[in-house]
């Protein structure tokens, strides 16, 4: 029985590994058509949404996040496979380095580029991203800073569909945004939504658990499943696999439950140590705790976030 089970695990593990992945710098990745105009560059280091137009000479390429620096050349090469049109817009969903790795190279003056873009390329971000990048000691060169910022929302049309960039205040950080491709029916959620771990509630950079839960509920307001809570609006997480409303729901439920447990401890006057000892996220830790961001770290962030509310 146990041997049969182990054999089955081995078979399914090999099946789950998938056969379509490519590799760059030792990092597995895949370019996947999501739907409509939107593709997803998915790697174990994070995801990028790529919107491409169908009308040469008029349309172009739009990126949501530019990925980690070490995959920059691979990402640019994969974009060129999807479209020969210039990259005209970039939108970054957070101030995280792994979402801004190719900002600088894409924003360089045209003469020094070895790929096709236009000199008037725009990089959108919530204003707080620029605020953070432009602070002394940020380590981010001005050549990688956003060129256009917004406070709450920015909408425009590109590649034949309406695009909404919506600020999600104080969620993972204070610089988060989500991007809704209204025609393609796709949302790029950035690090507000991950399938690879708990969300990093970055208190030092303005993140909060209440903002995180609120942002997930907002995503659920925007998604419409095709049928039986499946398909329809597809959601590209900051890290992990392509998802839909049901997956976001599962994640929202988990965070709400853990938040409520921590809130209950606070209501009872329990200390952080007592909250830690209660292992309030243990039923989700095997699935979402990672060495870089453990369940304990997440619970501590939730505790501190609620306490300073």
């Amino acid at each position: 029985m146990k041997i049969a089970g182990l054999a089955a695990i081995a078979v399914t593990a090999s099946l789950a590994a998938g056969q379509q992945l490519q590799e760059a710098a030792g990092i597995p990745y895949e370019v996947r058509h999501v739907q409509g105009h939107v593709y997803m560059f998915a790697s174990t280091l994070g995801n990028i949404a790529i919107q491409v137009g169908k009308d040469p000479g008029h349309d172009g390429v739009l990126l949501v996040d530019t990925g980690p620096a070490r995959l920059r050349d691979t990402i640019l090469a994969e974009i060129r496979k999807l479209s020969s049109e210039p990259v005209r817009f970039m939108i970054v969903t957070s101030p995280d380095a792994d979402h801004n790795g190719a900002n600088e190279v894409l924003l360089k003056p045209a003469s020094s580029r070895n790929f096709q873009t236009q000199s008037d390329i725009a990089l959108f971000a919530q204003d707080n991203v620029l605020q953070r990048f432009s602070r002394d000691g940020s380590g981010v060169p001005s050549s990688a800073w956003p060129t256009l910022t917004f406070l709450d929302e920015k909408s425009f049309a590109f590649n034949g569909e309406a695009i909404q960039i919506i600020a999600e205040k104080n969620a993972h950080t204070d610089g988060d945004s989500i991007v809704l491709f209204r025609g393609s029916n796709v949302i790029a959620a950035g690090d507000i939504f991950l399938t690879t771990g708990y969300p990093v509630i970055d208190l030092q950079r303005g993140g909060s658990i209440q903002g995180e839960v609120k942002a997930l509920n907002h995503i659920l307001d925007l998604t419409v499943p095709r049928s039986m809570q499946e398909g329809g609006t597809m959601v590209i997480p900051g890290h992990g696999r392509l998802c839909d409303e049901a997956d976001v729901t599962d994640y929202r439920d988990m965070l709400t439950i853990i938040r409520d447990r921590v809130q209950d401890m606070l209501r009872k006057g329990k200390t952080l140590e007592e909250a830690r000892a209660a292992r309030l996220s243990r039923d989700y830790d095997r699935r979402y705790s990672t060495s870089a961001w453990t369940g304990d770290m997440f619970v501590e962030a939730v505790y501190r976030s609620l306490k300073t509310k």
Partner: protein, 316 residues
């Protein structure tokens, strides 16, 4: 041939002829054990109380090899969750769907040139149509979306159809909150015994199960079955039936769910046993049960009263 054999021979021929009429036809495609396409009516002689309405009581984790994490998750589950908009139309996922009340319609997808079967379609479950790819294709990558049905590939092992399913959305092993995660996988074995189709399924979840969960279900071949898709499948539209706060997710806080003792109290099962775990799957657990205090089963008392038309004594 002796006299006795002569007497038995016509009977045997008759039985074989009858079997030929009442069994699905033998399947001749090379490398394939049998063709399961057709109509199959579900049999509920196994785990009937769990599989039909109303399903397993809250707190009944018996026979499921869950770990402590899954136990806490199940203890936290609140049945009100189905009133949340995003939960109203969630169907059973592949790991549970074949246990649900269902009559199956199994059909084939054939290569138009060769007639070779490229896939089986299993319809009639709450998951909706499931496709079992038989053309040797690979499973999708780790970045592909998950679905309620998952992604299934099949291969013949002798006369047994073995199906591997990955990319399943998170769901429930039992309809009382025993969950599995989106990293769970399913291995299934379809066998034909005369006119009976038997499915042996093995669910594995690295997060919540300490051992594979093995379950079986059976169907009987029924060419007279009129196929009707599961009521509401594909047409379910969520609507706010009860006013709820925005973003409300019902759940029980750790240690606060008093309902989980009801199963133990009602059915006279020691509470410790009702908590499930791998050991409760095996016959040897009876020895441990004998050392526990067996609570009085209220459900039998109620049933006795009902069967003997006695009115419960009025409280003073």
């Amino acid at each position: 041939m002796g006299r006795a054999a002569c007497a038995v021979a016509p009977l045997l021929i008759g039985l074989l002829a009858a079997a030929a009429l009442t069994s699905p036809p033998a399947f001749a495609q090379r490398g394939m054990g049998f063709n399961p396409s057709g109509m199959w009516t579900a049999m509920y002689h196994e785990d009937e109380l769990e599989r039909t309405d109303p399903g397993s009581p809250v707190g009944d984790y018996l026979g499921i090899p869950i770990n402590d994490d899954a136990r806490l998750r199940a203890d936290s589950w609140d049945g009100d969750l189905v009133s949340v908009l995003q939960h109203q139309c969630i169907p059973h996922s592949a790991i549970y769907a074949m246990r649900a009340p269902t009559g199956l319609k199994i059909s084939t997808v054939n290569d138009p040139a060769s007639g070779q079967i490229n896939a089986f379609i299993i319809d009639g479950t709450y998951t909706g149509p499931r496709t079992i790819w038989m053309d040797g294709r690979a499973h999708p990558s780790q970045f592909a979306p998950h679905t309620w049905a998952g992604f299934s590939t099949g291969a013949w092992e002798g006369d047994t159809l073995r199906v591997e399913t990955t990319h399943i959305k998170a769901g429930y092993l039992r309809r009382n909150g025993i969950a599995f995660t989106d990293q769970a996988t399913l291995t299934e074995f379809f066998d034909l015994h005369g006119k009976y189709l038997t499915l042996t399924s093995i669910a594995e979840d690295p997060n919540y199960l300490t051992e594979p969960l093995v379950r079986t279900e059976s169907w009987v071949w029924n060419p007279y079955q009129v196929f009707t898709p599961i009521a509401g499948y594909g047409s379910c539209l969520p609507s706010p039936e009860i006013p709820r706060p925005y973003g409300w997710v019902p759940h029980h806080l750790p240690g606060a769910n008093t309902l989980i003792r009801e199963f133990s109290d009602e059915y006279g099962v020691p509470f410790e046993a009702s908590r499930g775990g791998a050991e409760t799957m095996y016959p040897e657990y009876r020895k441990k049960l004998k050392q526990m205090v067996i609570p009085h089963a209220k459900v039998f008392e109620v049933q006795f009263e009902q069967e003997h038309h006695k009115q419960p004594e009025k409280q003073p």
